[in-house]
């Protein structure tokens, strides 16, 4: 890089030599030989310049790219090292933006700037130095213009920054409006409000355009102004050199010519620099956003797994949990004792703490107060990996991965045979659906499994959970998208297959809960009832209320 910058600087000197000594150097016999020699030099220098710049970029991009790769990898690892609380605090979409867009921006900007950071100052300083060598006083004129230009560039870049921010906001807003409109298309059309939805988008579009224009137009001042100022300086130099030549200084027209060339080079450097300066805030923003992830302190413990196998008894003693964001405890003073092999259901409405309970059992969160025990062992002393190896879960949000059905199912049991997969699918009442597909087990799921319905997704996650061999199974609201008939079939099948394992069914549907050995009723994070369906109907008001509201009492 440096070599090429130097080479580019040498060219005008050689050129001016050609002019001065060669062309102008009158009719000496050797003139043409001199021109020839200098031109050969120029050719050599240009080649060297090209080669060195190519080599430089090659090396630089490899270095940057290696760095970006390891940054990306580290971010990805870090996210999986974070606790669930931290992941939800920062937000999935933010984390995705950090890992992709922000890293990308950083990579892009650094790639753009890497060349400039070496070349611009060198070119600039070299250009100034060479000018000085030709004539110090003339060169000072150029130097005078530089601070002036820099001030303008800085002032502009600040204002432009703000404008970009505003237009980014409007861009987000417009995205939201379009998304909202597409999602609500039925309601919008039902109420005949398409015109209104359209006008909202139109307005945001116009505002965005205004801001983009303002930012661009401000930026567009820099180039012509820099060009004008430096060209004007060059003119002053021409005039002054005329004056001084007349007075008999040693200045040659070739020198003047060279200085004008240098001015052009300096001009180029300043324009590139102004571009770089405008880019710098992007780096700052990206770096700040990335550090939110890399410097996160909400990490899971690194205790190594010991390969423990539980029997399936779970005890909660005075367990409470308060979210890091504060507020009311999500769970308080919970005492639950679940024997190995029991079929338990936990029922409660939104905000009752059901899901928090599941997250405690999966070691995604640790109790704020009290103790959680597996087989009498304090969970706090167990590694998260050990706990998770002993708990198989199917969640309300299906969480399937792009890829084949078989890949998804084998997550819990990598060595499962095709027969085992089919058996699990059969139990989850989804085998027929896949048998109809020509690809069978290799049926490919799109990202977020958008090519199958919500009910099908839930049944696949249920199959995945059943397939994993574990002493404890949690079904966290994982029947909500199934109709009652299908749910009943799944329930019967699961109970047959998993008899003797601890099963915890978390639900808000009374029909899903009522058949369990014991039912725990949660309300506002507290246990308000425990027992069989019949017992609860008699003694627990909240349970009775839920039951009546959902069934109308028709099934008593």
């Amino acid at each position: 890089m440096a070599i090429s910058a130097v080479c580019n600087l040498l060219l005008p000197t050689l050129m001016s030599n050609v002019l001065d000594k060669g062309v102008y150097g009158a009719a000496e016999a050797d003139t043409f030989g001199y021109i020839f020699k200098t031109c050969a030099w120029m050719l050599g220098v240009s080649l060297l310049s090209l080669a060195s710049v190519a080599g430089g970029y090659w090396v630089v991009y490899h270095v940057i790219s290696g760095y970006t790769w390891s940054l990306r990898s580290a971010l990805f690892r870090q996210v999986h090292h974070m606790t669930l609380a931290e992941v939800s605090r920062i937000g999935t979409s933010n984390l995705v933006t950090r890992s992709t867009h922000d890293v990308g921006t950083l990579n892009w900007v650094v790639s753009m700037l890497c060349g400039s950071i070496i070349i611009i100052p060198l070119t600039f300083l070299g250009g100034v130095f060479l000018c000085m060598r030709k004539d110090v006083r003339l060169s000072l004129i150029i130097l005078c213009t530089v601070p002036l230009l820099l001030v303008v560039v800085f002032a502009m870049s600040k204002k432009i920054d703000k404008l970009w921010e505003i237009s980014d906001d409007y861009c987000d807003k417009q995205n939201d409006l379009v998304r909202e409109r597409l999602r609500g298309i039925r309601v919008i059309r039902a109420f005949d409000r398409e015109r209104y939805a359209h006008s909202r988008i139109t307005e945001a579009t116009r505002v965005m355009a205004d801001n983009i224009i303002r930012a661009n137009v401000r930026m567009a001042i820099i180039d012509p102004m820099a060009a004008f100022v430096l060209n004007a300086a060059a003119l002053v130099i021409v005039w002054l050199s005329g004056v001084r030549m007349e007075r008999g200084s040693g200045l040659t027209p070739g020198d003047v010519f060279a200085i004008i060339q240098y001015v052009n080079i300096i001009l180029g450097a300043i324009v590139s620099a102004s571009f770089a300066i405008v880019m710098l805030p992007h780096v700052r923003v990206a770096a700040r956003r990335l550090s939110q992830v890399t410097e996160s302190t909400g990490l899971e413990d690194d205790k190594p797994a010991e390969g423990l196998r539980f029997n399936g008894a779970i005890d909660l003693e005075q367990v409470g949990y308060t979210y890091p964001s504060g507020g009311m405890p999500a769970l308080s003073d919970l005492n639950l004792h679940i024997g190995a092999g029991e079929w338990i259901s936990v029922i409660g409405g939104t905000g009752s703490g059901k899901t928090t309970l599941a997250e405690l059992l999966l070691a995604f969160r640790r109790p704020s107060t009290g103790t959680l025990r597996f087989d009498g062992r304090d969970a706090a002393s167990l590694s998260a990996a050990d706990v998770r190896a002993n708990v198989s879960v199917s969640m309300q949000k299906s969480m399937l991965y792009a890829g084949t059905v078989a890949d998804n199912l084998r997550m819990g049991k990598p060595d499962a045979t095709d027969d085992e997969l089919w058996a699990a699918l059969e139990l989850a009442q989804i085998a027929d659906f896949l048998r109809e597909k020509p690809e069978g087990l290799n049926f490919k799921l799109e990202p977020a499994a958008t090519n199958i319905s919500g009910g099908q997704k839930q049944r696949l996650t249920i199959a995945r959970a059943i397939l994993k061999d574990a002493p404890i199974y949690i079904f966290d609201d994982s029947f909500s998208a199934l109709d009652f008939l299908t749910e009943a079939k799944v329930r019967v099948a699961i109970n047959r297959k998993l008899a003797g394992r601890t099963r915890i069914v978390i639900t808000q549907r009374v029909v899903s809960a009522m058949h369990a050995d014991r039912i725990f009723v949660l309300s506002d994070g507290a246990l308000v009832g425990a027992g069989t369906h019949a017992e609860l109907l008699e003694h627990c008001d909240i349970y009775r209320e839920i039951y009546l509201s959902q069934t109308g009492g028709g099934a008593a």
Binding site: V23, S49, R72, E194, I213, A232, W239, R388
Partner: protein, 600 residues
Amino acid sequence: MSAQTKNEAAKQGVKKEKRRLFDATGKRLVREIRPLRGWIAFSAFLCLILIGCAVAAPELLGGLVDKLYAWTKNKTPGLARSLLPGLGMLLGVYAVQAIVTYGNSYLLNNIVSRYFCAELRIRLSEKLRRLPVSYVDQTPAGDVIDRMMEDVGNMADSIYGIVEILLTGFLQMIVIAVILFATDWRMAIPVVLLSPLSVLLSAKMATLGEKHWDKHFNLGGELTALAEEAYTNYPATKAFNREAYLQEKYDELSLRHQRNGIFGNFLSSIVQPVIVFVDALAYIAVALLGGWLIVHRGLSIGTVVTVIFFARQLSAPLERIAFGLSFIQHVKSAAKRVFTLLDLPEEEDPTETAQAPTKGRVEFRNVDFSYDPKKPLIRNLSFSVHPGQKVAIVGPTGAGKTTIVNLLMRFYDIQKGQILIDGEDISKLSRADTRRRFAMVLQDTWLFKGTVAENVAYGSPEATREEIERACDLAYCDHFIRRLPQGYDSVISEDSTAVSSGQKQLLTIARALLADRSLLILDEATSNVDTRTELLIQKAMDRLMGGRTCFVIAHRLSTIVDADCILVIRDGQIVEQGTHRALLDRKGFYYELFNSQYKI
């Protein structure tokens, strides 16, 4: 094989090349830009001025240097003074150059952002109004947004492309070439011969780079998808100990992504140095030739200097053209996506007519419908509903319950048969006319970003505040709305946490109450709502249904035992029909469905 056929083959090759650049998309792009031609012509005029300046400046500068050289020979006094007029003119030229450059970029920015991008986006938004619901159902929102925002933004480059390439680039190149020849044809030849070389080289590198960029971008998309999947599935990843596997997959993908990026970046960065290099070659050629000409043919030094300056000027338009050609490809792939959206078939619709008040009689006559022609869903469906009746539609998931709503509201059009409202075939009415008879409460509550009052009044924008409040009171919303920080003027949205999902449902009921339509569709869903709110929703829905013809999609059978008629749907067919009592007595599918709630 004669030389002639070879020649023809070569010509065809050239034609093919042209066709590639100006294929259907290219032509369409030009057509889209046509309304702006006045502005673009003005911009071209400004560009001409700039070219004039670019030509005049070296000419004047060459003259000045000539004077300096002349002085070293004959030392006539008054050199400085004699330079002044030339200097003044140059200063003027520079000033004009600066002002016009600024003016032109002001103009271009306005053309591009305001008259092109914004207008195109508004047209796309207008297009959304007329697209069938089926398109929206099948297309991820992200894809439409991508087309409206990213792709339109990329298309905007086409204007810069046209101005830069066709106008400034080529014009400047031609003018400079002509002047070079006029100044000294002998020195012009090597310059003009060398310049296509740099264009060819840079174009070649651009296409080479393009391939890597394409791959880089595609892999980037995959990488984003993978990160998105991994992070959203965080609990599942952890619960099944899949971190290491995903990390490996991610790292591998990321490595390929970066590799392509290196090549792309490298090739892009090298274009400019290559042009500089070819430039230097031209420089050398001019110096050698010029030196020889000065010595042996007595050419003036100033002429050589002028040629050198022009030769330098030639590289700028060349860079531009090379750059422009390279991103024209980008622009075209973006434009194709935008045009596809703009050209989608629209819903045809008869004009709206004034309509008599609806009584509320609805009839399906031998209706056939399917989303996918290969999989027939609804076949020969017939039933009729009397004004004021409550009809419940029940059946397992995927049986076609929601489809009936889609057909009633004409979100989808039936393929055979008729749907009649008050004896009138709704396919003869405009869609808006049909929809205006219905109010709808869907399982998927939809609120837009706006105040509570605006959201409730969505179906009746002219409603007064009193009317809104009354509707909210009837729908059991009033009490919680008043507890919001700004009451009815609080801003809420889809993902706002200020109101619970049950409260959102109540707001949509208030919306339907206020709209006061004679037909009602309830996609009854209370799966995410706590028990007490659910009771309220139930009560509010009962209020809403009073006196209206209602279609209730029942998820919980307990709520529809009092329906006037229950349609039991299975695989798109009505398998049973009747009141709750009658259906239970038949001990058929409904009986099985109803009792499945209580099976172990």
